[in-house]
Amino acid sequence: MATDISTAAPTSEVRKAGRRRLPPELSILAVMIGMMLLFEVLGWMFVGQSFIANPLRLRIMVLQEAEIGIIAVGVTQVIIMGGIDLSSGSVVGMTAMIAASLAQVAGYTHAVYPSLTGLNPIFPVAAGLVCGLIAGLINGSLIALTKIPPFIATLGMMVSARGVADWYTNGQPIGNLSDSFAAIGAGWWPVIIFLGVAFIFHIALRYTRYGKFTYAIGANPLAARVSGINVERHVILVYMIAGLLSGLSGIVHTARAISGQAGVGVGFELDAIAAAVIGGTSLSGGVGRMTGTVIGAVILGILTSGFTFLNVDAHYQEIIKGGVIVAAVVADQYRQRRRKGA
């Protein structure tokens, strides 16, 4: 070409400075490790034992957070796309009941469906997943087609799904679940499931068209539409995936507790959102990574089990947890602003 402007580019040293870009999760990973070390030190000071070198405690901690983590995997994608999902906790309650009702031991006379006892665990699992999918489909369709804010649509689902859970057995817990179903929640399975779905969607977000579209819609829905993306369809799809994962979490919880209870999952949606946000997902959409969310979930787990370990009163735990969530977002905002250089 006749013109040449490339010769007068910015000086090379400045360029290099801009090039070295560390993955954003590193800082949050450092926070996680710092927190573990802090509890370790506090443990030796006040309790006289190690925080980290206690496999039982670590296992309880990880198992607790696995259920939140599975939800957070879905919620992260919804938030990256510029949405929000408040219904996850209630969907956990709803799927817990539906899955449990199909997982009761053979011949149990007081079963919810006496003719449907002793089924292969595939059935309760499938029913739970479909139930989550449907909740997600309704969420997504409401948001994409009626254009109501995601906050409102999923708030409606939050209330209704909890209603379904309560209505299902008039609030009665469902017990006597089969061993084969309970096996899903036994041992390390919840953790494996959590890390499995996190890995799958990490890959999906980074390397597939699905992921690129999710980021694009979160960053600028109008530009996404003009670029030929079927925004409505994609929004519905992402909410369905979030619903599916909530359902999965409900199944895992039920199997682990070996009982279906209508009240489970209350507040899970907020913990899941917190995990995503601590992990660096931006509530305004377009920014976020699955690895960050996994670390975010672990941080929440460390907080809970660390405080319990130190015998801190449960009320104080909540107060401090709130502060940590806010601090994480403040730190993240600060970092982003610095990156933009303004």
Binding site: M1, A2, T3, D4, I5, S6, A8, A9, P10, T11, V14, R15, A17, G18, R19, R21, A204, Y207, T208, R209, Y210, K212, F213, Y215, A216, G218, A219, N220, L222, A223, A224, R225, V226, S227, G228, I229, N230, S282, G285, G286, V287, R339, K340, G341, A342
Partner: protein, 514 residues
């Protein structure tokens, strides 16, 4: 010398004291670096009372950065500031306003859901003794201001109901309402039509007469000679030279800006005209436009002229399926198509560069690569949903080099690029889809001369390769220089199609205002 505080400065200004210093503003040795770019390197700048000082330079030359520093939005890494001979330090936009420095931004910064009056007087609402806003008084002041500036708008209109041009006028009125000593205008005319530009110039002349100093950033040469007293030229973050507007020529300025000569602004090559690629019959979008019919042939550039708000952009959006037509027919290669969403248009070989880079073009949070590849993902480049990163990255690099996108690497967030470079990324996005019909809405708005010439050359090349181009532009020289035929619109109607050989500025303007 002791620095004076912003609040003291404000009181002094309100007392009506006339400053003694010859220069309203003297900025010296300013340096500012952003991650990856040294935006300003040892830049100095002086502004005289009652003068219009134009700033010229390509995108990324540092003009906007310098202005943002003067307006207190950015803090410089080093450098000194003198306001009317007094050393000052700006820490926020509010400081700048109190010192008497107001800025009209390139991007519109109005609040959509508030009225015009509320927008203008924000933070300075007239209050009664209880602290409530006196709406009547606010409206009166707005009316008075609009009368003074001859702006025919209702202060009670909500900003979202205004056209882009009218929003720009509100921005201008807002800046003027500060009665500041220094007014910075960052490309104020990019969204304005000729008539409104005239209006703006009348306002500027009146302000000049009152002693206001005006810093005027523009890419338009003719504006420079019409309104400016001095011109400072920037290149790559450096100050290149200051001249009196009366003793410098257009070519000299271009030479300073790009460091070389641009031989030809509109390199029109006559391309072989092929078959009809796009045929539009009686197209209509209720409430926006009606009765639009034309044929667009392969290799042809159809320019579209008309005032802002004449329905030009609506036609483009309807062709691409963003807002599907309410009636009429669109035929592609002779086949009627129901284009009801952008995906359908893209599958039919269309591409659409939108008018508003920020609102409907860029994914500002994402990096350059993500921005470039997004339209391509529809056309394969994925196996079982997995994107072929390596192949796409190679293509992106190729486009980056072809269009000379100035960036350290493709992983830079697009928000860090200058407007011209962002535009190049968006053009690359569409070129990668190998379109047969290219719809361009203001392809060179807010772009420096160098990049502009490159884009013009590119459009011509594409036409020679047989691409049918539908190009909307507010710049008549661009439309006249580039097009084979020119379609003119006025208030939602097509008022005519003029052949290249019959097209003159006068003829087009007649049709555009008929």
């Amino acid at each position: 010398m002791a620095t004076i505080s912003p609040s003291t400065a404000e009181i002094v200004r309100q007392s009506g004291a006339v400053p003694g210093a010859e220069y309203l503003l003297e900025v010296s040795s300013v340096r500012k670096a952003f991650p990856g770019v040294l935006a300003l390197d040892d830049v100095s700048f002086r502004l005289k009372r009652g003068h219009v000082h134009a700033l010229m330079g390509e995108n990324g030359a540092g003009k906007s950065t310098l202005m943002k520093i003067i307006a207190g939005i950015y803090t410089p890494d080093s450098g000194s500031f003198k306001l009317k001979g007094q050393e000052i330090k700006l820490t926020s936009p509010l400081d700048a306003l109190q010192y008497g420095i107001a800025m009209i931004h390139q991007e519109l910064n109005l609040m959509d859901f508030m009225t015009v009056a509320e927008n203008i007087w924000i933070r300075r609402e007239p209050l009664n003794s209880l602290g409530f806003v006196r709406h009547e008084e606010m409206r009166r002041r707005t009316k008075e201001l609009f009368q003074r500036l001859d702006i025919p708008l209702d202060p009670e209109t909500e900003v979202r109901d205004l056209s882009v041009a009218n929003r720009q006028m509100v921005e201008i009125a807002k800046a003027v309402s500060y009665d500041s000593d220094i007014l910075i205008m960052d490309e104020p005319t990019s969204a304005l039509t000729d008539r409104e530009v005239e209006h703006l110039f009348r306002i500027i002349r009146a302000l000049k007469a009152q002693g206001t100093g005006i810093i005027y950033i523009t890419h338009k040469m003719n504006e420079l000679f019409e309104i400016a007293d001095e011109v400072s030229v920037f290149r790559d973050g450096r100050f290149v030279g200051e001249h009196k507007a009366s003793d410098v020529t257009r070519d000299e300025i271009i030479k300073l800006m790009v460091g070389r000569e641009i031989t030809q602004m509109f390199p029109k090559e006559i391309a072989p005209i092929g078959d009809v690629a796009l045929s539009v019959r009686n197209l209509c979008l209720e409430g926006k436009f009606h009765g639009v019919s034309f044929d667009l042939r392969k290799g042809e550039i159809l320019g579209v002229a008309g005032l802002v708000g004449s329905g030009r952009s609506n036609v483009a959006e309807t062709l691409f399926g963003v807002t599907p037509a309410t009636s009429g027919a669109i035929l592609i290669d002779g086949k009627e198509m129901a284009i009801n969403k952008p995906g359908v248009a893209m599958d039919a070989g269309m591409a659409f560069l939108t008018e508003d880079r920020k609102a409907s073009g860029c994914f500002l949070l994402l990096d350059i690569m993500a921005n470039m590849q997004i339209a391509l993902l529809r056309h394969g480049f994925a196996t079982a949903g997995f994107v072929n990163e390596r192949k796409i990255e190679a293509l992106c690099h190729q486009q980056k080099n072809r269009l000379r996108v100035r960036t350290p690497d493709l992983e830079e967030p697009i928000i860090n690029l200058s407007g011209g470079n962002q535009q190049k990324v968006l053009i690359a996005r569409w070129l990668m889809t190998k379109p047969k019909i290219l719809i361009l809405d203001e392809p060179t708005r807010g772009i420096d001369v160098g990049a502009k010439a490159e884009i013009h050359k590119l459009i011509t090349e594409l036409a020679v390769q047989g691409v049918a181009v539908f190009m909307i532009s507010s710049e008549l020289p661009e439309v006249l220089g580039m097009s084979d035929r020119i379609l003119v619109m006025h208030e939602g109607r097509m008022t005519g199609i003029v052949d290249r050989k019959d097209a003159t500025q006068v003829r087009i303007m007649e049709l555009a205002s008929q």
